[in-house]
């Protein structure tokens, strides 16, 4: 990649010879003002997009503090009372349960995804055996297709195992559908780890399993962190899988909705019950953990997601 080279002295603004006649470069000496106008121009667009991102989110948050009448009134009105009751109401209306359900599922599905994904990726990345490439491509190809293409048979597979509307069913499905990307990501990560330490551990008499858990896994921590956050985000935000697989199958069965699914459910109910502030408060509650995770790990998230899309 790019080699660290001493800054050439030439790059200081004014000393660069400019070509005459090129449109945006009036001539030497004008560089500062040119940069200024163009920066105003680019900043204008950048700020505009930032506003377009923040404004709707902020507006929605404010709407949680409004009354139904105010929400139906003018969109630009300011809430009159700042009562946090609405968040409690939203929690009781089901958000609390959905939140817990999602936490329960993720508490198992994320660690399992990481373990299985890392195991498969490790073996595929560092051991030669017949069929290695085949198994690898087999795993990775699963990331190519939208989930719902397989939804019809998947539904009946789970029905056969009596795992519809159960946590364990959804956990296994989440793990299975997270494997392609996890294997792909960890595969390239394990390849970059040095072999010397591995060999040293083997000479010291460590078994393959031991090398994996006590040498390779600790070395792979940065990679595991990136893909771990990615899986948390992906599984927390999953909507199609739970909305098909987590429906009460008999009338007596309790619902175990995930957060995203519950929000949509709530939205459809609120269409009739007209308690929109509760819905918006629910969205705020659902958004908060993601905001916290994002702000604390935004570097890893951005690095992890982009690393996954680049060869």
């Amino acid at each position: 990649m790019s080699t660290p080279i001493k800054e050439p002295a030439l790059t200081t603004g004014d000393s660069i010879p400019r070509q005459r006649g090129s449109k945006r470069t009036p001539g030497p000496g004008d560089r500062r003002t040119e940069g200024l106008t163009l920066n105003v121009f680019s900043h204008g667009f950048l700020i505009l997009w930032a506003v377009l991102i923040i404004l709707p989110l902020l507006w929605l948050l404010l709407s949680a503090f409004k009354t139904d009448a105010q929400i139906g009134g003018s969109a630009l009105g300011w809430p009159t009372s700042w009562s946090f009751d609405v968040f409690g109401r939203a929690w009781d209306k089901g958000i609390g349960d959905y939140f817990t359900n999602t936490l329960i599922v993720l508490a198992f599905s994320v660690p399992l995804t990481m373990l299985f994904g890392a195991m498969a990726a490790y073996v595929l990345a560092r051991y030669e055996f017949p069929g290695n490439r085949l198994v690898y491509y087999f795993f990775v190809s699963g990331a190519m297709f939208p989930v719902f293409l397989a939804l019809v048979p998947l539904f009946f597979t789970l029905q056969r195992f009596a795992m519809l509307n159960t946590y364990q069913g959804l956990i296994l499905v989440y793990v299975a559908y997270s494997l392609p990307f996890t294997v792909f990501f960890m595969h390239s990560f394990f390849r970059t780890l040095p072999t010397a330490i591995h060999e040293a551990a083997v000479i010291d008499g460590a078994s393959h399993t031991r090398v994996f858990f006590q040498v390779m896994m600790p070395m792979a921590k940065p990679g595991l962190l990136s893909i771990g956050i990615f899986n948390v985000l992906g599984q927390w935000n999953q909507y199609i899988l739970p909305s098909v697989l987590m429906q009460p199958q008999t009338s007596g069965e309790s619902e175990k909705y995930m957060l995203t699914q519950g929000l949509i459910q709530l939205q459809q109910q609120q269409g009739y019950a007209t308690d929109l502030p509760v819905l918006f408060a629910g969205v705020a509650i659902a958004m908060l953990p993601m905001l916290v995770v994002y702000l604390s790990f935004q570097r890893q998230i951005q690095a992890g997601l982009t690393a996954g899309t680049m060869k």
Partner: protein, 310 residues
């Protein structure tokens, strides 16, 4: 030693591979198999009907409309998202080169990246609720409210965003672009940052302007990432299920008004869970599977260029 190694490999692959086969690969294969049957899903009995589902599919007006919508989205979503993301990525990384030294981004570029990327971590369900409120068809909606304030829309006849047959699809597209730009900005930024500074400096010395730098230097070196982005956005455009099914009017996974908001995914789910036509729904799945593959192959071939190493 050798034997132990084989047992270790098998042991490590067993659990992941089994899970993956049962819940991912097998359903995909079954989709193909069921697509040749008249299976309803409820009864265990079903017959092999050959290509009947497929011939019915191509006579099905709703499905054809949905297919057409997906193709429309397939063209517009990648183009719009990539153009905006490229523009911003260039601004953020190379835009502020005026000051004392070399090439760098505008001030506050890190801040912009954080803000822009945020929609990416929100679930589409949250976006559905959010934009449902934004697109409200009275003055309580953010868009209508703003437009009325500016005097562009009459308060008595607000724009019915999601109920207008001509607007509904574009409204969905805007959400996807809003959601995606930040991610592709970061993706392109990473690619831009791996371009050696010396290349920019050389261009600068040769007197290249900003536009020239972008089209002659940055874009060719970024081509790989643009291509990847295209494939990813193509897959997004094929999907669209969450937004279309929750935001468009109509019973049984939306698709309204009058099928103007229909995408293939909503038609598939309606046939599967509402009409109980599982075999028919599977045939749709197969068509989408094939389309997805075609898109990937076309994109990768059409955009193939001489790879530039640096």
């Amino acid at each position: 030693m050798r034997k132990g190694q084989n047992r270790f490999i098998a042991g490590f692959l067993l659990a992941p591979l089994t899970l993956y086969l049962i819940f991912v690969i097998w359903p995909y294969i079954q989709t193909v198999g069921y697509s040749f049957t008249n299976w309803t899903g409820q009864s265990p009995v079903f017959d092999f009907v050959g290509l009947d589902n497929y011939t019915e599919l191509f006579r099905d007006d709703v499905f054809r409309t949905a297919l057409w919508h997906n193709i429309l989205l397939l063209v517009f979503i990648p183009v719009v998202t990539i153009l905006i993301a490229l523009f911003f990525a260039f601004m953020v990384n190379v835009g502020g080169r005026s000051a004392a030294g070399g090439v760098h981004g505008v001030r506050g570029s890190g801040f912009y990246k954080i803000i822009y990327f945020f929609p990416q971590v929100l679930s589409l369900a949250i976006l559905a609720v959010l934009f449902q409120a934004v697109y409200r068809s009275d003055q309580g909606g953010l868009l209508n409210g703003l437009l009325m304030k500016m005097g562009l829309v009459d308060a008595n006849s607000p724009i019915e965003w999601m109920n207008d047959p001509d607007l509904v699809l574009w409204c969905l597209m805007v959400i996807i672009v809003w959601h995606g730009v930040g991610f592709y900005l970061v993706l392109f930024s990473a690619a831009m940052q791996s371009i050696p500074k010396e290349i920019y400096e050389a261009a600068l010395l040769d007197g290249a302007g900003r536009a020239q730098t972008f089209f002659r230097v940055t874009l060719p070196l970024l081509w790989d990432s643009v291509q990847t982005a295209w494939v990813y956005l193509g897959i997004v455009a094929m999907d669209m299920f969450v937004l279309a099914s929750t935001m468009t009017p109509g019973t049984g996974f939306g698709g309204g008004p009058d099928h103007h908001g229909e995408v293939m995914a909503t038609v598939l789910m309606r046939n599967f869970l509402y009409f109980g036509k599982s075999g028919y729904a599977c045939a749709m799945g197969v068509v989408m599977l094939i389309l997805t593959m075609i898109i990937s192959v076309i994109t990768l071939r059409a955009t193939r260029r001489e790879r530039i190493e640096f």
